[in-house]
């Protein structure tokens, strides 16, 4: 028995997880795709009826979808890049030896522990244009007051700030784990060769951290791309749909306009976009690892 396990360890170890996941996602993917091919509008009260690609044709030709698509990409890139860069920087700082390091680490994790709904609402309190604390701070340091979530051009950066505030800790702790497992030899060798800290970082640490950064960056990208709770709690997609990402658009189509067929088509498209981008990033990671 033990021998059997050992010989087939590859599948013995991987199969339970694989089988469980397949069982749990076949239904959602299948059902969403099936719904997306139907005319299913609760307002008409009629049962779902196949209309094949009509939902997709309608969505892909609607300017609202493309506007929402643009917003989603802008929000996702902004937040992902900020989180990855900040996360690595903070991890490097926390990787140094200093007193109170444990406390600092715990402090860093705090925002990540809060429910996104609560975080969103709490920041809406800070962002209130006339009596919120953010504009008070802006004024105190001589900056002009901002409109934050109440104007179309500032709403995405304002929400992205909150996303970064809450989720960077996740990047930090993954980077810390990655840093702690880096071999010391190349770093010491570089120091002996007379490289300064900045050179060591760019020539030695960063290349070795790249796989970790790709992994966590991809995870953050995926989560932010389909993030819902935070934006919903803060603006519900407003003002004037300026923060209506694809996921919110799908939600609104289903639960405000009761068009479940169209909503499922949007969800399927979101899934496909994320899938394609993930495969591209995974391939980039693979190529990068092969190059090294």
């Amino acid at each position: 028995m033990s021998k059997f396990i050992d010989r087939h360890i590859k599948w013995v170890f991987a199969a339970p997880a694989l089988v469980f996941m397949m069982a749990m996602i076949v239904l959602p993917i299948g059902a969403t795709f099936a719904f997306s091919l139907t005319e299913w509008n609760l307002l008409s009260g009629a049962a779902p009826r196949f209309n094949f690609g009509q939902n997709y044709a309608k969505i892909l030709s609607s300017p609202e979808f493309w506007a929402s698509c643009g917003i989603t990409f802008w929000y996702t890139f902004l937040a992902t890049i900020l989180e990855t860069v900040l996360g690595l920087a903070i991890a490097l700082i926390l990787n140094c030896e200093f007193r109170g390091k444990q406390l600092a680490k715990t402090a860093i994790l705090l925002p990540y522990m809060m429910a996104p709904v609560a975080v969103g609402l709490m920041w809406m309190l800070f962002y209130e244009p006339s009596s919120g604390i953010m504009n008070f701070i802006f004024k105190s340091v001589g900056l002009p007051p901002s409109t934050f979530t109440s104007a179309q051009d500032t709403v995405i950066p304002a929400i992205a700030t909150v996303e970064v505030w809450q989720m960077t800790p996740m990047v930090v702790i993954v980077c810390l784990a990655g840093l702690s497992s880096l071999p010391n030899d190349p770093i010491e060798a570089a120091h002996v060769d007379g490289a300064n800290s900045i050179q060591v970082f760019f020539r030695v640490i960063l290349p070795m951290m790249m796989p970790t950064l790709f992994s966590i960056g991809l995870l953050r990208f995926i989560d932010i791309f389909k993030s819902f709770d935070l934006i919903y709690a803060m603006t519900k997609g407003g003002p004037a749909n300026a923060s209506r990402t694809l996921n919110l658009y799908a939600y609104e189509t289903a639960f405000s306009y009761y068009k479940f067929g169209e909503s499922s088509a949007i969800l399927t498209l979101v899934f496909l976009i994320v899938l394609v981008i993930s495969i591209v990033i995974i391939n980039m990671k693979k190529r990068w690892e092969e190059k090294v």
């Binding site: 307002l43 008409s44 519900k236 639960f255």
Partner: protein
């Protein structure tokens, strides 16, 4: 004290029932058997999903009384507004929901929920004398199952429009609240004092936000947003209303009126910039909040002035309560429905800015004690008045776009103090846009289904 009152109420209700001793068709009247000890529904458990607002506070306040009286055990689940909608829709779609009673926003949910057969028609229950259905003044078209005459929900509270004014300024000038549009203009003329940074009146001027608050003027002149499935905003009556609204705000409104939405309204009134404001009843709580306003004790309330075609405040049924058609405990659910729409909960929520549709509530001592006399009077006047403007908004799929188009014409009118040469042309443009929106979503003309 509240407990004592509610017990007395419950007691008197019981006595009254025992005295009349009738039975109702639904079987709900088995509770009328009289003696409290019987607890007709002992052992029944109801699952109720509701939303987290003061109406649920009212339910919780009296829930144990209800449970004691009927023997029903109520599991009350509370959710935010959109989560409630998501939860009920998902459960009902699956067909295996265990919900018995749920709260809904008729404006948004009645059509999809009733067309899918999720709502139990209440007609056979309404004769129950314990309910006293004739006491309710809700606009019927908002609470009937779509496309039928059957009542689908019991209306819980309304949103209406009221006029707020500064009692100190009115006293100083010896004025009384205006009751019609001419008086409104006269009063404004007397109050307006721009050199001292005091303006007579504020109403909403922000393009999209203004639609609902402009509607009483629109209907007050005999106009409307949509008529027979076509835009009616360019009709002579509608244009009169646009001109009047423009004149009122252009001449007597504060600078920056064009950016005024809900929250700016409060700010203008609370900072003492305006002497009058016409807006939703929800504004009252903030205007009279000591923590928010320097004039919290100088706020008078009056019904909105009457137009040539009457007092046309919108009267929205904000929340209603319904029985799920798949409920296995419909009789017990009805007991709970009567309780939710009953006078205890109504007396609890009404002073908190959620006026009940029960006419009798305005004579209830709990309401009279908790509210100022002018507020009670204003509410009851609005509640009794018939209106052709129940919704306050154009009814079509692309509501926001339509509000935007109509708002543009009204804004032009305000900018030109109601005298602009292009008001008719702008109204026509707006009408064309709305017609196009109706056509786009296949709702134009005969196909209009609201």
């Amino acid at each position: 004290m509240k407990k004592v009152i509610s017990l007395l109420c419950a007691g008197s209700m019981m006595l009254g029932l025992a005295a009349c001793g009738q039975t109702t068709p639904s079987g709900g009247a088995s509770s009328a058997a009289g003696s409290q000890a019987e607890k007709p529904y002992a052992g029944t458990t109801l699952r109720v999903v509701s939303m987290t607002a003061q109406v649920s506070d009212g339910i919780q306040e009296y829930l144990s009384d209800f449970e004691d009286k009927t023997g029903i055990k109520v599991n009350l689940e509370l959710y935010g507004e959109s989560e409630l909608r998501q939860k009920t829709t998902t459960e009902f779609l699956s067909g295996s929901s265990t919900i018995d009673v749920f709260l809904l926003s008729p404006l948004q949910d009645m059509a999809p929920y009733s067309k899918n057969g999720w709502i139990e028609p209440l007609d056979t229950y309404l004769d129950d004398p314990e309910l006293n259905w004739s006491d309710f003044t809700a606009p019927k078209e908002q609470i009937t199952l779509s496309g039928t005459d059957s009542i689908g929900c019991l209306p819980l509270y309304s949103s209406v429009q009221l006029m707020y004014y500064r009692t100190d300024l009115f006293e100083q000038k010896g004025l009384t609240p205006p009751t019609n549009y001419e008086e409104l203009l006269q009063v404004c003329e007397k109050l307006n004092d721009p050199s001292n940074n005091l303006y007579a009146i504020a109403c909403r001027g922000e393009k999209i936000a203004l639609t609902s608050q402009f509607s009483p003027f629109l209907f007050g002149y005999g106009g409307s947003y949509i008529k027979d499935g076509k835009s009616n905003i360019a009709s002579a009556e509608s244009v009169d209303a646009i001109k009047f609204y423009g004149r009122l705000l252009g001449k007597y409104g504060p600078p920056g009126i064009l950016t005024t939405g809900y929250s700016q309204m409060t700010q203008l009134f609370n900072s003492g910039t305006v002497a009058m404001a016409i807006d939703a009843n929800a504004l009252y709580a903030t205007l009279t909040d000591k923590a928010e306003s320097a004039y919290y004790d100088k706020v008078g309330v009056a019904p909105i002035p009457e137009g040539p075609t009457g007092r046309q405040s919108y009267k929205q049924v904000v929340w209603g309560s319904s029985i799920y058609s798949g409920s296995k405990n419909k009789d017990a659910a009805w007991e709970f429905m009567k309780f939710v729409a009953g006078s205890d909960v109504a007396a609890y929520i009404t002073p908190k800015g959620m006026p009940s549709f029960r006419s009798s509530i305005w004579n209830d001592s709990r309401v009279k004690d908790a509210m100022s006399a002018d507020m009670v009077k204003a509410y009851s006047v609005i509640n009794e008045s018939d209106t052709t403007n129940p919704y306050g908004l154009p009814r079509l799929t692309s509501v926001t776009e339509a509000r935007d188009a109509i708002g543009e014409a009204v804004v032009y009118s305000i900018e030109t103090k109601g005298e602009g040469k292009e008001i008719e042309a702008k109204a026509k443009t707006a009408a064309d846009k709305v017609d196009q929106l109706l056509k786009n979503s296949n709702e134009y003309g005969d196909k209009y289904s609201y």
